[in-house]
Amino acid sequence: MSLTTVGALVLRYLYLYTRTPIRMVELLFWPLVNLLVWGYLTVFLQKHTDDSFPFEITFLIGAVVLWEILFRAQQGVAIFFLEDVWSRNLLNIFAAPVTNADYLCSTYTVGLMRAGVTSVMLSIFALPLYSFNIFSLSWSLIPFVFNLLVFGWALGMISTSLIVRWGPAAESLAWAVPFLIQPFAACSIRCRRFRWRCNGSRRPCPARISLKECATD
């Protein structure tokens, strides 16, 4: 694997985003809308339900942030490939001295960058809006995020493989594949498990407190 080659491929992607800032909508706007929808739903349910309502609902905000890490990592890999298909550039890339490892590494790098931009933005917005601090998990957040990134990259490769197998007609799979596993995704299941470990407490708890408590429980 060559860092120069990976750098050149990533540079091409950066050029793409600086040339067409409207693409940032995908990275910033939709995730933010997602956060607002689930965040205000959480706030609403907390304010308008009695103590019998399951508290794991407060973890929806955390789930949104963590889900975006996985989803954007997957998108980085799949969309990177699709950009070459759409621009009819794939043959030029693979006619150049680019190994599969170079190409995959550059897609992972782009996935990491996309996940980073989106998750940092969501974390920043979640703090003042919902008193939700994802960083309250401290160091234990690192392996969790790494896990999500690796899984996102793997899903991206699966999406890409399916597109290669079935052709451009299957390109909607680049968006659909992650949602096949969303109901079982670690970012929501894990949060619920955190919640269940909170001794079944019935007191209302803002997401910030509960996530921290659960992590140290």
Binding site: T4, Y15, L91, A96, V98
Partner: protein, 253 residues
């Protein structure tokens, strides 16, 4: 005698029941321009994809610069380049940005100057800061050609480089192709449906039909073999004949 730059022997590729390339053999000597001709579906593009190592052959060997392509693909690709009318560079990037990225991929030294040189050579320096997607078909083809010349390729694969060009620009492109052969000693494999291109540019031609090599030789030898006056007549005769007896096996190069 000097080893050929490209040596293809017994190349066969099938997709399911369809045999796209069947036992094709030919070679190109250093500084030679070889025309690979054939009607649509003759197997030219599949052959080029195999020469780039993108498609794996079912059987046969490809040696480039004396090395086996399957074993030294990346090392070989650094010394060659490719241009096709049917590919494009990313339309959202500027001309300069596209060439910079590919220059980095090919590790071109003194890249900024080289970009200026190739743009000048193809007479599109004024498009340097233009968005690639806004170029006309002819400008886009010339940009592709610029990309293919960035690394001073020793072997250049040109897939219908003049297909979308007007006669004036096509003539300029043919002159550039001959210039890089004469001045840089590049070896060129040239596919085209334009027989004027082939007559003007190619030293030898290989005629393919239904995945097999029909005949290989100079333009005069081809005309004599098929008893026609022009290569275009040969092309039409080959394309319309369903029962041409193919010359099996190794073709004299």
């Amino acid at each position: 005698m000097e080893n050929p730059v490209l040596q293809v022997s017994g190349l066969t590729k099938s997709f399911g029941d369809v045999v796209s390339v069947n036992n094709v053999s030919f070679e190109i000597r250093r500084g030679e321009i070889l025309g690979l001709l054939g009607a649509n579906g003759a197997g030219k593009t599949t052959a080029i994809n195999m020469l780039l190592g993108i498609v794996s052959p079912n059987s046969g060997t490809i040696k480039v610069f004396g090395k086996d392509l399957a074993e030294s693909r990346i090392e070989i690709l650094r010394r060659m380049n490719f241009c096709s009318t049917y590919t494009q560079l990313p339309g959202n990037l500027r001309v300069r940005q596209n060439l910079y990225v590919f220059g980095k991929l090919y590790r071109v030294p003194d890249l900024k100057n080289r970009i200026d040189e190739v743009l000048e050579m193809l007479e599109i320096s004024h498009l340097r800061e233009r968005v690639s997607g806004h170029l006309s078909a002819g400008e886009s083809t010339r940009l592709n050609l610029c990309k293919s010349l960035l690394n001073h390729p020793e072997l250049l694969l040109l897939d219908e480089p003049t297909a979308s060009l007007d006669p004036d620009i096509a003539d300029k492109v043919r002159k550039v192709v001959k210039k890089i052969r004469d001045e840089e000693g590049a070896t060129i494999l040239y596919t085209s449906h334009n027989m004027r291109d082939v007559e003007e540019v190619c030293d030898r031609v290989v005629f393919m039909h239904k995945g097999e090599v029909l005949f290989a030789g100079t333009s005069d030898e081809v005309l004599e073999h098929f008893k026609q006056d022009t290569l275009e007549d040969v092309f039409i005769q080959v394309a319309r004949s369903g029962e041409i007896e193919t010359q099996k096996g190794e073709v004299e190069s």
